[in-house]
Amino acid sequence: MTNHSLFDYFFSYLKLGEKIFAHIKKAFLPFVIAMLFLGANNIYAQNKTISGTVTDGDLSGPLPGATVLVKGTTNGASTDFDGKFTLNSVNPNSTLVISYIGYITQELNIAGKSNINVVLKPDMAALDEVIVIGYGTSRKSDLTGSVVSIGGDDLKKQSISSVAEALTGRLAGVQVTSSEGSPDAEVSIRIRGGGSLTQDSSPLIIVDGFPVNSMSDVTPSDIENITVLKDASSTAIYGSRGANGVVIITTRSGKDGKISASFNMFYGAKKIANTIDVLEPDDFVKWQYEYALLRDRLDTYQNIFGLYQDVDQYNGLKGNNWQKQIYGQMGEVQSRDLAVRGGSDKINFNFNYAHYDEKTIMIGSDFKRDNLSLSLKSKASEKVDLTFTFRYSDTEINGGGANEQNEVSSADARLRHSVGYSPIPLPGLTTDDTDEALSSYLVNPFVAVADNQRKQLRKNYNVLGSFGWEIIDNLQFKMDLGLDNRNDLDYRFYGRSTYYASNRPAAENQGLPSILISDEKRERFRNANTLNYDFKNLFGKEDVHSLKLLLGEEMIISKTNEIATEIQGLPKFFDFDTSRNLTSQGVPQSVDNFYSPDDKLLSFFGRVNYDYKNRYLLTATYRADGSSKFLGDNQWGYFPSAAVAWKISEEDFLKDASWINTLKLRLSYGEAGNNNIPSGQTVQNFQSRNTTYINGVNNYWAASNTLANPDLKWETTVTQNVGLDFDLFKGRISGSIEAYKNLTSDLLINFPVPGTGYSTQYRNMGETQNTGIEASLSIAAIQKADYGLNFSFNVGFNKNNVNSLGLLEDFGANTNWASSQIGNDYIVNVGQPLGIMYGYQSDGRYEVSDFDFNALTGAYTLKTGVVNNSGIVGVPRPGNMKLKDITGDGVVDVNDNTVIGNVNPKHSGGMTINANAYGFDLSAAFNWSVGNDVYNANKIEFTTSNNNGQYRNLSTIMADGNRWTNLDVATGALVTDPTQLAALNANTTMWSPYSTNFVFSDWAVEDGSFLRLNTLTLGYSAPEDITSKIGLSKLRLYVTANNVFIITNYSGLDPEVSTRRKTPLTPGVDYSPFPRSRSVVMGLNLNF
């Protein structure tokens, strides 16, 4: 494994820096220079000394450590233990700014004064931010459920391409993992482990009240904050689909007052982080020779490489580094966004435009996204609020990546070609001609990329409107209307070298390019009506009781239509672009215009918030959901929840503990539902399908392979949560600790019914459980006017368990990367978590001493008592991979598969450090995962030469000297003599790559624990007195490095990987991933 450390690239980044500077120079150089001049231009005249005392308005004592700063300068001081301060050289007409964390900052003009006394009042609002919860907001101190949130400022400080990326490692109990390194890589978000078995466990994502499919269509810079609801008492108000948690994203809205604008941009460069080291050409040739001997097909070596006597011609040859050529491009990222906000108390607006552009490290792969949004808020009258939001996003992704989920065959995975392809040109075997596809199974990596092209165009627009009306005092009616329209257009090209092209089309179109076009349109309409009533008038002014009531109704209708077109037999010289534009040159194998059944949801819900003396809080929620995915009485699901909280800090016995700001104990119980299955599973319908299997039959009618189940009903998750929130030393230390137990029953499982005539049936059966502990802590270690240091830290321990699978004890799942050579390599067992890897236990290799040697015939026969694994690795011979016999019958076969890995981490979390000093800010975000296993399928593939593996290169794990060898280099013959063979391999450690099959053993299961410095940002904000002179309210320049380093024992490219995502049953497989990159980005934030 080559580790291209960051330092290696610093020099190349210097060059890049010049390029960036050239970019910036044009527009910003003038005022960068101006800024420097202005900075030096401070004039001091007739200054005086001023002193004073700062007292605590809460406790009426002196306030030590408060900051006193002359406004617009860096001249400042801190108060001493008695709250006193002295400042020298102060302009007699200046203003002092007095601040202390947790208190309201005061400004005071000192004209004519030399001694001042200031009383600072505690700022409850700053300590008690407002959090967005379902259908409303709540003060943080009043929350009863398990809720975490992150503000937009944390998102804005660095360069991020997507919202999900920004969440990585930031929130306790929220595990964000990106599956590989491509820009459109699927990001898996799991809140407390996720409960579903065969269905997606992604949380419900709500943007401005509207449920969306993906958060990638929202620009990070347009986000006000993100809230994650984790327990059922918080999610129950969302009832359906809240079972896996809810992520609520609120976008920015206009602020009253003057119109302001902000402009952000960044530019950066990316470089591949790791590559897989492969054999040098001479070693490659040497292995090819041994392989041909072992297969007894010497002619296949001689035809290509010549005679063994001439093998020295390959010595010292420099091989092509295909991985560098394919994935070693310098990637570039560019982003610009502009926001204009403002308005009056009658009407305000927020306009945002963002452009993101990335050229990735892989040839021909890029990613572009444009977002446009406009939101308007108007107070039409004293009683009526109106809002309107329009959002548009347009994404274009080019490039086929390194693998895909709906693949026709893993033979077309791209990374394998750049690793396994011959490092040297071999006449007759390697050519740049696409036609080589027809003569050999070695595919030039460039041809593989060109033949597996893909273009995805995603357009999404979203229109939201709301009408709020205060009908009578404290009774608020709100109606939300929204329409979401999404169009995904996907072109997938299969060139002549692909498995698809040679096997899928009818014979006359085989070996010719094909293109698959999917045009999917989704439309979703939502209407929600809520009534909020605050009973405060009823209880009078005593402020002892507080009661609020929410009642609501919601309706969501989703419609989907997909036109899937397969065009085969395009002219052989067509490439991706011509195929896409000239489809009529091919033969349309199938055009399927498919309308899915509508997905309709109707819900009624209510919520009561009650508190007594602001000490004892109660939230109770009830929601009823009706879904068109179910029939009859099963349509409706009812989801109650309740939560109580006790603000211990409000009790009299803690009133005097001034260091405790908030101490709150929370307890909740609730149910949430899930109907996350395809619609139309309750009635068996006929589908019309195309086929190329049967002569003269191009299409046919048949029932779906999924057997209908009229008895389907809601999957239910019961959540129990206990949490403790604390806020100490005026907010210097805050955090929470929570423990939870989530029990998901009536699991909606796509249940296998093999052998009945159908393959699966959706059923409610089984139960899974997630239990865990989460903690988050943030420490404001230093809070001074000019410098500060914050830490925040979160960790989550989650334990997943399959409690029951209904009728079954276990069932297996196949990642299928090795086609049929490896069977079920994952298993779902009752009593164990999801993501259990299932395979053989490696026992090293067969040594010479394991065999009896017959000198007459030259045959090696296994000694009695030595296990035989011939059905898996091939006929046993010294040097073959050896596997453990678990059943003890002397034979290794499928029955000897056993549990060999667990993809679930013991704990995962993140840590952020934020520091600032004199206008500079530094932030570092780490994330980690401990105790998770990774299935390193790449390692298996690139250390195995099976029957299809001839002429393929191997990784250096199998370099000469490591691998077992049977070759006598001097004579070019296979060694059979036992003594000689044992001596030859006295220093080798690996088995022979020669094997009948790929074998999944615990050797390929590796600990994937890691600690990653995900982002490191250094920024500088120009002082306000300088920026104000050039009309700016803020000017910040920054440099961010992404994926700075990773500490791990994992031997593959990157331990954060999951490339077989077709079902949730096979996570954590490292097979042909898009390699990750490291990047350095320079950026600029401007506020006007």
Binding site: Q510, Q635, A702, P754, T756
Partner: protein
């Protein structure tokens, strides 16, 4: 203000009125109702076509059942049988376990057959309910096809697994899990179904639909019904013993008569006949001549890009060459002794047994090269006879012959012999045998030979032998041996015969141990001397020699696993994945 109020209440009122029961109904859109599909012949044909689609699925007939069922017998073996602890070999040597890694997948032939059965059940129910399928109508033809296709799936299920679950109605929640049924019940149902089907479908070429052997015709239905009658009344392994059925409806008397009647119907119809030349028949087959009315009665209709018949069984090609873009074939072949069991004058011998493969191509041209005496290839399947150049890397697209007229004749002979004696059987046997010999040889090899079979037993023995000469390489033998109760006997005999062949003793003492070969004028095909008994004289310097005794004891003993009685392993076990998925209803009998 008031206006807004009115609008709001209007919308809310509208919402709540739409909140009636039907709001949450969301019917499927891209579909048609059963009543429409099965009342329209054009649509119903699409549903019946759907029954055939599972033949082509990856691990169905295409990739598993055709390549693996029917081995090993006294005439055919898989050339990987000697691999130790190998999933493919286990299937061949009567040592299959439920977890066999080649077969134990949820998309195995077992489940594909039930998919076909379910589709057939839906078609049969739909056609009866909505179609008015009378004989002579298009819908009638379709019902007959659906009944026949269902019988094909069931026949093959029982052939490979013995007793299986009986599903003759579409599945619902109550019938999702059921136990195995007695095969007697299923056979009786199939014989009745085929009886009905034979009244519904047309003779070959009677209507446009029956112009090819890829659609079901009356000659096939009747022939197939005769075959099933013979199987149902024959010997086979029941959970208790190897025996005939005790069901009186399936007695030899009743079933043989039914078989004879059906065969006679086909023979007398004149709608099917033997191709005059055995070689021409196989050439036509490889050329994908699918015209009905000849010898082939029905073929599994693989499209050009699907199916692994030649891929598995053809004369092997070592590389892409002038005949094929798919270097495959040769996973199985005739036993080394079969060639020598033929009469040297039998024209079928050299079509059936091939001692060469096509070597690695030079400049795209490959030559025949001799293979060892233990690894003969089947000659009935040859890329070199195809009209089409196969380009797929995984499929050849040639059909599998499911039944041909020769089998009708042989069943007629067997049934007539049993019911009426050897004289009644003789004409049928003569007709088959006649094609095997040149006219000059026929008086001795056909007429005198058949006339000499004077007892029932002698005639039956001759039929058993003739079956070998006629059908080796078509994987019909295993089921036939089972119903004759000869599986164990003949497999044991075959081991002895192969050992004799290996040692050149007994009946193989005069078989040469050296072959001599040279290339013919075309420079690709072999001229071989030494294959026939007694060809022991070196033919000259222009010939090269090759030793012709590479058969080993290990190979001989791999015909079936030493220590296993093939009669206790007549069936494959039901695969573990289906046992596990059966909710405890399915179990393996026969001590698996």
């Amino acid at each position: 203000m008031k206006k807004i109020l009115i609008i709001i209440f209007g919308i809310i009122a509208g919402l709540f009125t739409s909140c009636q029961e039907d709001f949450l109904e969301a019917p499927a859109k891209s579909t048609l109702d059963e009543s429409i599909i099965f009342s329209n012949a054009g649509l119903a044909k699409g549903a019946v076509d759907g029954i055939k689609e599972p033949f082509g699925q990856t691990n169905s007939y295409r990739g598993r059942f055709i390549p693996f069922y029917g081995f090993n017998t006294d005439t055919e073996w898989n050339l990987n049988s000697d691999k130790e602890n190998d999933a493919q070999a286990d299937l061949m040597i009567y040592d299959t376990k439920p977890s066999n890694s080649q077969m134990n997948t949820d998309n195995n032939a077992w489940s594909q057959m039930y998919t076909g059965i379910e589709r057939a059940n839906i078609c049969i129910r739909g056609l009866r309910a909505f179609g008015n399928p009378l004989p002579g109508t298009e819908l009638g033809q379709l019902l007959g096809e659906a009944l026949t296709l269902r019988a094909i799936y069931y026949a093959d299920l029982m052939k490979a697994w013995g007793d299986v679950p009986a599903r003759f109605e579409p599945i619902n929640s109550e019938t999702l899990y059921i136990e195995k049924s007695s095969r007697d019940i299923i056979y009786k149902q199939l014989i009745a179904d085929l009886g009905e089907a034979s009244t519904l479908v047309a003779w070959p070429n009677e209507i446009p639909a029956t112009a090819t052997v890829e659609r079901i015709n009356k000659a096939f239905v009747k022939g197939f019904r005769a075959r099933l009658a013979m199987v149902a009344s024959g010997y086979m392994q029941y959970p208790d013993a190897v025996r005939r059925s005790t069901d009186p409806d399936l007695s030899v008397g009743a079933m043989y008569q039914l078989a004879l009647n059906e065969c006679k119907d086909v023979i007398n119809s004149g709608k099917a006949s033997l191709e005059p030349s055995f070689e021409t028949f196989w050439k036509k087959y490889n050329q994908e001549n699918i015209a009905a009315g000849g010898e082939s009665l029905w073929e599994i209709p693989f499209a050009d890009g699907r199916g692994r018949v030649l891929f598995s069984f053809a004369v092997r090609h070592r590389s892409v060459d002038q005949f094929t873009g798919q270097p495959r074939g040769g996973i199985a072949g005739p036993l080394p002794t079969v060639f020598y069991d033929y009469d040297e004058a039998d024209l079928r011998r050299d079509i059936t047994c091939v001692p060469y493969q096509w070597g690695t191509a030079t400049n795209g041209i490959s030559k025949q090269e001799l293979i060892g005496s233990e690894s003969w290839n089947f000659g009935k399947y040859r890329y070199e006879w195809m009209n089409r150049f196969v380009t797929s890397t995984n499929d050849d697209g040639v059909n599998k012959i499911y039944m041909r007229y020769a089998e009708v004749l042989l069943i007629a002979a067997e049934a007539a012999n049993e019911l009426q004696g050897p004289a009644a059987a003789a004409p049928y046997l003569k007709e088959i045998r006649k094609r095997g010999f040149a006219p000059a040889d026929q008086p001795v090899k056909v007429d005198a030979y058949v006339n000499g079979l004077s007892t029932k037993q002698a005639m039956l023995n001759a039929i058993v032998n003739e079956h070998k000469f006629e059908f080796t390489g078509e994987m019909e033998r295993k089921q036939a041996l089972i119903r004759w109760n000869l599986l164990k006997t003949n497999l044991e005999d075959a081991k002895v015969k192969m050992a004799n062949f290996k040692n050149r003793t007994g009946e193989y003492a005069d078989v040469p141990t050296t072959l001599y070969f040279k290339y013919k004028a075309d420079n690709v095909s072999l001229d071989i001397y030494g294959l026939n008994r007694g060809e022991n004289v070196d033919p000259g310097v222009d010939y090269s020699a090759k030793t012709w005794n590479s058969l080993t004891d290990i190979k001989v003993n791999s015909l079936f696993k030493t220590g296993v009685d093939p009669d206790t392993r007549q069936y494959w076990p039901i695969w573990q994945v289906f046992l596990d998925g059966s909710n405890g209803k399915l179990v393996n009998d026969y001590n698996y």
